[in-house]
Amino acid sequence: MDEIINNKLTPKDFKSDQEIRWCPGCGDHAIINAVQRALSELGIPKEKFVFISGIGCSSRFPYYMNTYGFHSIHGRASAIASGVKMANPDLSVWQITGDGDALAIGGNHFIHVVRRNVDINIILFNNEIYGLTKGQYSPTSDKGLVTKTSPYGTIEDPFSVGELVIGAKGKFFARTVDANVTLSTQIYIEAARHKGAAVIEVLQNCVIFNDGIHEKVTAKEVRDDRTLILKHGEPMIFGKNNDKGLILDGLKLKVVKLGEKGIREKDILVHDAAESNPGIQYMLANMRYPEYPVALGVIRSVPGPTYEMEMASQIELGKSKSRIRNMDDLLDSGSVWEV
């Protein structure tokens, strides 16, 4: 019993000796708190966690974690994390990335790690701006955003993270808000327990270059009416007074008011994150204010074989079927002749 108590990790065990250098008020502070809480509850030994990042403000994250960590190069963390997981599937591998790192320079690696379903957890800090280079637009910036490199407004359509994940055959997608540590902690725990690539989009606030970009939906006074926290198996009801919900109207989602036009709770859609057909989940992931509430929580969580396990089973099969057991066997195989 003593041993179990001694082995219980606390969030503090995951804090490194490095002084955190994010700007005061940056959303990253809350994110790291939630991650440290989640890790302490997973029952995984500390030495098995590995945090891998690319480049950007978010990518300093591994330095602040008292785990194994690798702060790599711009956009490539997905590929490095894949290598770590294939080399040792027993590790709990986390990728920390941002909207530029994952979706611009690292877009190719991002879609492929999702497609392959390598069992890593990807936390994507989405602040719709480039912070570390001091304020240029990103692939998730709204069209028209005026920044230092788009003085007349951007002329690009932004990526929607969830849409991209589902398009890349993703099996786990969740969304949370930096400041909501309770929801975030739950989501990180679910992501860690999910076998396969898990992408968590965090609506993160850059206090310096894009302050308040998510405020219209996340501000305390409006968030209940403008966000929908999805729970698997429960009806999609939201609003300060729990009086709004979603129904399917033809091929589209529609916001309705409970009690109006005879709408009752049983008419409201029930969330099924485990449904493999992503149709409804895709629409949920793409809901935008003001037409819809922004969906939070685990939007999609579908089981499937992981890449590293399929690789391991091919190796097992190869070993059991072959007569070549070591290098000497290989050197002697095929056409060999004696002189």
Binding site: V50, H71, S72, A79, L317, I324, M327, S335
Partner: protein, 610 residues
């Protein structure tokens, strides 16, 4: 089987099989080489094929060739000029006549010399007249019509019948060199196990060719006795396979699992394919989404404790540059194999060149030293791949191994080593005695850091691309950066402690020293041997360790009146030597045609310096 009397005995002979890229010439050449090797000849082969899988039929661009040089003494190169040319169509003559010895034997499929094909090959009139084919021993065999006749009772479609033309030609060559058909027959039985009708068809074509050659009495049979080679077990191996096997051997000797993260690229793909097939030896092979992900996945695997490898060619090496810099900075072991091809850009994908040397040495931002090795024969790709892995692991550094298209696809018989004769590899894992773990604490002799692999309790640490202090803390302190830059540089320089001295082939002093590195080896050795036999005071050295260089370079160079550097680029190694040893004067022999040197070229240029 054979009529006696007219056999000509020869020291060595060069045969070139050529035809359309769909004619099966690579297979024909390979089967002939394997039969010759089993007989006991020494040999070297060189396939030469177009980048297009099916280039326009009948054109010079679509000609695929396979050259084999066999002899009764040691063979170093695939040979400059062919004694026997097999040409399945007019384009094959057009492409290869300049590589055929004047007066040599040319075997053609006469049926393919139609007006249309002759025009397609770019001839304006009769090839016999245009290329003076009457000056050669031209054997005009109606190969297509003879296989049609021989196989008429087998109920096969015309296309399948014509596909056996290569076996007919091969049968002719077997008769010419008095070789047995057994090995080829066994190959056919295995390859077409599920299609007995194809086994029969190909065997009939093979025998028909053999007896046709005997009947026409236009060929003088040639005998090449077995070479007196050292006792042991032998097999034929290509440079790419030898590279893959060297890496596998290093994994076994180090006790590490082998991880390869690569993206297919000519001419390096064979290494990835070979390792992907070795699930039985536990290889984790990962075909990444691009070159960058190839090396980055390997670097992740290295962080997690695997023997990490990525394989590529020049354009891919360029894409991997930033990640190699990350490996330099994080001091993780990784082997990067660059199978060089003609550049720049896409260049000549299927042709050989040695022009990535400076990219390998210096093609990164910042002070970014890596170990660079170069293999010089198809079989020593095994040795240097093993050595690259040993150095990477034991010194915690990226190592670039340079081979080239010529070595990768060339084959030669290889005396198979026993694993017990290879050295052990000792990964420098961090020990529990040294807690707390300090990421950039160094071995006092080698200056390499210690490897703490995720999953090991109490050694959690962070590494990354930003400059760090010895404890792994990010640091912008000017003096710290300078200290770390110097340490990383010295760490690579200290690999030299185990680099073997240069070996001079020939006299230790003389009038001219021929210097080279990598795949030009065989051509230099032969050119120098021939000039030595004529009484010239000429010697040869080959560099396999490019960075760091062997310790006795200055000593060797100073004993010769002149030094000439031979390489398939515009002088990259010569310039590197000028930087390292500026006190010497370096002459150059260079070539950038996508082809290896010829012995003749090197000899002629050396003679001008003697």
């Amino acid at each position: 089987m054979r009529k006696k009397g007219t056999v000509i005995e020869k020291e060595d002979v060069v045969i070139r099989f050529s035809g359309d890229s769909g004619d099966g010439m690579q297979l024909t050449g390979t089967l002939f080489s394997e039969t010759a090797a089993l007989y006991g000849n020494d040999l070297t082969t060189f396939p030469d094929y177009p980048a297009e899988i099916r280039a326009p039929q009948g054109t010079v661009g679509g000609v695929s060739g396979f050259q084999v040089h066999l002899g009764q003494s040691e063979i170093y190169t695939p040979g400059d000029y062919a004694d026997v040319l097999v040409a399945m169509n007019p384009a094959a003559i057009r492409a290869n006549i300049k590589w055929t010895k004047f007066g040599g034997t040319i075997i053609i499929d006469k049926d393919n010399f139609t007006e249309k094909n002759i025009e397609k090959a770019g001839y304006e009139s009769d090839p016999v007249v245009e290329d003076n084919l009457d000056q050669y021993n031209l054997i005009e065999a109606p190969i297509s019509s003879m296989v049609k006749e021989a196989l008429k009772d087998l109920n096969l479609d015309p296309k399948t019948i014509l596909r056996t033309k290569n076996m007919f030609a091969l049968g002719m060559v077997y008769w010419l060199f008095d070789r047995k058909l057994k090995y080829t027959e066994q190959y056919l039985e295995k390859k077409f196990r599920s299609k007995p009708e194809l086994i029969e068809a190909n065997k009939i074509a093979l025998h028909s060719g053999y007896y046709y050659a005997e009947t026409i009495e236009a060929l003088a049979p040639i005998r090449i006795n077995p070479a007196p080679i050292a006792k042991g077990k032998y097999r034929n191996i290509s440079g790419n396979t030898a590279t893959a096997w060297g890496l596998l051997a290093a994994a076994e000797k180090s006790g590490l699992e082998l991880f390869i993260g690569s993206y297919p690229i000519t001419p390096a793909t064979g290494i990835l394919e070979e390792l992907a097939a070795r699930k039985d030896l536990g290889v984790k092979s990962f075909q990444a989404e691009d070159e960058i992900a190839g090396i980055c996945s390997a670097l992740g695997a290295s962080f997690a404790g695997n023997l990490a490898v990525t394989t590529t060619s020049g354009p891919g090496l360029a894409l991997k540059s930033e990640a190699i810099g990350l490996a330099v900075m994080t001091e993780l072991p990784i082997v990067i194999v660059d199978v060089q091809r003609g550049g720049p850009s896409t260049g000549l994908p299927t042709k050989t060149e040695q022009a990535d040397l400076l990219q390998a040495l210096f093609g990164r931002n910042g002070e970014s030293p890596v170990v660079v090795l170069a293999a010089s024969t198809p079989t020593d790709c095994f040795r240097y791949a093993f050595e690259a892995a040993r150095i990477a692991v034991e010194h915690m550094t990226p190592v670039i191994l340079l081979t080239d298209g010529y070595l990768a696809n060339g084959t030669e018989p290889w005396r198979v080593p026993a694993m017990k004769d290879l050295p052990e590899i000792h990964p420098p894992f961090a020990s529990n005695k040294d807690l707390p773990y300090v990421p950039y604490k160094r071995d006092p002799e080698k200056l390499s850091r210690f490897w703490a692999v995720p999953g090991t309790p109490n050694m959690e640490h962070r590494i990354g691309g930003l400059e760090k202090t010895v404890k792994g803390t990010v640091s912008y302190v000017p003096e710290n950066h300078e200290l770390m830059v110097n340490l990383r540089n010295q760490k690579v320089a200290r690999v030299a402690a185990k680099v073997p001295d240069l070996e001079v082939s020939g006299e230790e002093e003389g009038d001219l020293l021929v210097v080279g590195w990598g795949g030009s080896y065989g051509y230099r050795v032969m050119a120098v041997k021939e000039l030595q036999a004529q009484g010239y005071r000429i010697s040869n050295v080959t560099f396999n360790y490019i960075n760091p260089l062997p310790g006795n370079v200055r000593d060797v160079f100073s004993r010769f009146k002149k030094i000439v550097v031979c390489e398939l680029n515009l002088g990259q190694f010569a310039n590197y030597l000028r930087m390292k040893y500026p006190e010497f004067h370096y002459e150059q022999i260079t070539k950038v045609q996508g082809l290896p040197f010829t012995i003749k070229e090197i000899k002629e240029k050396c003679l001008k310096l003697l």
